[in-house]
């Protein structure tokens, strides 16, 4: 008897280990925490700090067909509870990715999601057609919402027609499930979400960063060389959460929520608001072990509250 008590929280709390798995329909995740694109490198950078097998999944940094130079520095700024970036999707391109990175990350059991980028609709299609031929990928996340690659933050996710056209074109050629990543820089995000759903996306992830700027009053210069950048981190969480709630109430496909998640409680807020899974981004910079810590905090929450399955939390907002 004594031995049992020593052995664990399950006996101490008097309930079974919580089941953190979530079902996206097209993909079963062992827990709802996915490392977000652009904050987790190509999946290898974090191996000194955590075992990627413990994550719900991870999204590889955005890939264009060709290598991409990115924006000039300064590319980073720090604002209260947030960071501003204008990296400009610098990257190695799909061919080098498949040659040098994919063979190394394929060994992980956790789902690998590729963030797909393109200058035009055709490039998104080319990236997906190329990656279709290479096993080891679980889904594509369509990045139609990066604010750092076109003038004034233009991107397809700002317009329902542009969103529809690109999702439709990629869906037609994709052999894998498609997650469409939405921009918060719109008046009505539900309209864009419905457009992506109508075009056949399997899930939605939201939100990408907020188009923002910062100025140094001493020099009167913008902090970023690009002037505008994308704001992320805890500063955006309440707005992102509101958008996730609005979208989740209006679509019939899974929603993956993100924006400023730093703790298990933050992640739970998104689930309660209707997200079936979450992506963790900026927190990975602050603490490379964030994702694993967040998973453990969510587990503890379930155990303390006597919640056997975390899926029961999804959309459980009490109004």
């Amino acid at each position: 008897m004594k031995k049992d008590l020593c052995f664990g929280p399950k006996k101490l709390y008097g309930l079974k280990m919580a089941d953190l798995s979530v079902d996206l329909g097209f993909l079963q995740l062992q827990n709802p925490v996915i490392a977000a694109s652009g904050t987790f490198g190509y999946g290898l950078e974090f191996s000194p700090y955590l075992d990627p097998n413990n994550l719900g999944g991870f999204v590889v940094k955005g890939l264009y067909f060709y290598p991409r130079e990115g924006n000039p520095p300064p590319r980073l700024g720090e604002t209260p509870c947030g960071i501003l970036n204008s990296i400009g999707l610098q990257g190695i391109g799909v061919k080098k990715f498949v040659r040098e990175i994919l063979p190394q990350i394929r060994k992980y059991q956790t789902p690998i999601i590729i963030n797909v980028c393109g200058e035009e609709d055709q490039e998104y299609v080319s990236v997906v057609e190329f990656l279709n031929q290479h096993p080891g990928i679980s889904a594509y996340e369509l990045n139609i919402s990066c604010p750092n690659v076109k003038k004034n933050g233009r991107c397809p996710a700002l317009d329902p027609q542009d969103t529809f056209s690109i999702v439709r074109a990629v869906k037609k050629v994709s052999s894998l499930p498609l997650i469409t990543k939405l921009s918060p820089n719109v008046t009505d995000i539900v309209e864009i979400a419905l457009s992506a759903q109508q075009a056949g996306t399997d899930a939605l992830s939201l939100v990408n960063t907020f188009l923002a700027m910062d100025v140094d009053p001493q020099t009167r210069k913008p902090t970023l060389a690009n002037i505008y950048g994308g704001l992320s981190g805890p500063a955006i969480k309440p707005i992102a959460l509101r958008m996730v709630h609005q979208v989740a109430q209006n679509v019939g496909i899974p929603v993956i929520g993100m924006g400023g998640i730093m703790s298990g409680e933050d992640a739970l807020e998104y689930l309660i608001a209707g997200a079936r899974a979450v992506e963790v981004g900026t927190a990975n910079f602050v603490d490379p072990e964030s994702t694993v810590k967040i998973i453990n905090q969510m587990k503890k929450y379930c155990e303390q509250k006597g919640i056997p399955r975390i899926e029961s939390v999804v959309g459980s907002l009490k109004i």
Binding site: T39, K61, L76, C81, I83, Q90, G233, N284, F285, D287
Partner: protein
Amino acid sequence: MKDSQAEIIHKQTWNEYILLEIYSPRISSQSQPGQFLMIRINPQLHPLLRRPFSIHSTKGSRIEIFFQNSGLGTSLLSRKKIHDQLDIIGPLGKGFFLDNSLREKEVVLIGGGRGIAPLFFLAQSLRTFPCGVKIFYGGKTHKDLPLKDRLEEKRFDLYCSTDDGSYGYKGYVSELFEATFPSLNPKAVFACGPEEMMKKISHLTQQQKIPAQFSLESMMGCGIGACWGCVKRIKKKGSEEWIKICEEGPVFRSEEIVWS
């Protein structure tokens, strides 16, 4: 490698310059001159990002960092007390490149202001290499040369400059180096400091065909190669690219760097 809590065991302050001694046997045993640490200054959400610090020295189970109070992060860090814990990741990045051809040769280290930080660790390593080490140390005024006494105590050959002439040569440390180096005939130069200083030394050493290495400073998002925020224009195989300072640096060779 794991991020780790490490205790401040000694602190020394000279106006806005601070030297912290931190207990970390792991970091101390793994560090090379030129590598850096990412320190989370407080567990709250502002400032959110860690801050990068060069490793100033290692001795036994301890490491030191030397920094200037010059912003929100360093200001908060400067208020930490002995026995406070710091959340540190590292050592990170690639350090200075030391090849055997430098053994028994004369080398010059040039630090501008807080740029002296990584050079003390390097100087101590080079001395045991062994190399003849000359250190050039420049600041705006004599108050910006807080480590002068320490370097003298360690019996390094020291050449100081101040912009206002309040100590040593009056003018920039790059000018002092320019006036002095022909008589020193160094086989290598290692420098860290303001961009303009490093740029000038880079041109000078390239003209004279002296190999030079520079430790670059940048704001960093993560320090581990994940955010791509800390890039510098670097020549690679004939073309120029934005290269991550945290991952492929912070030390680069003179001929690789495209100065802005």
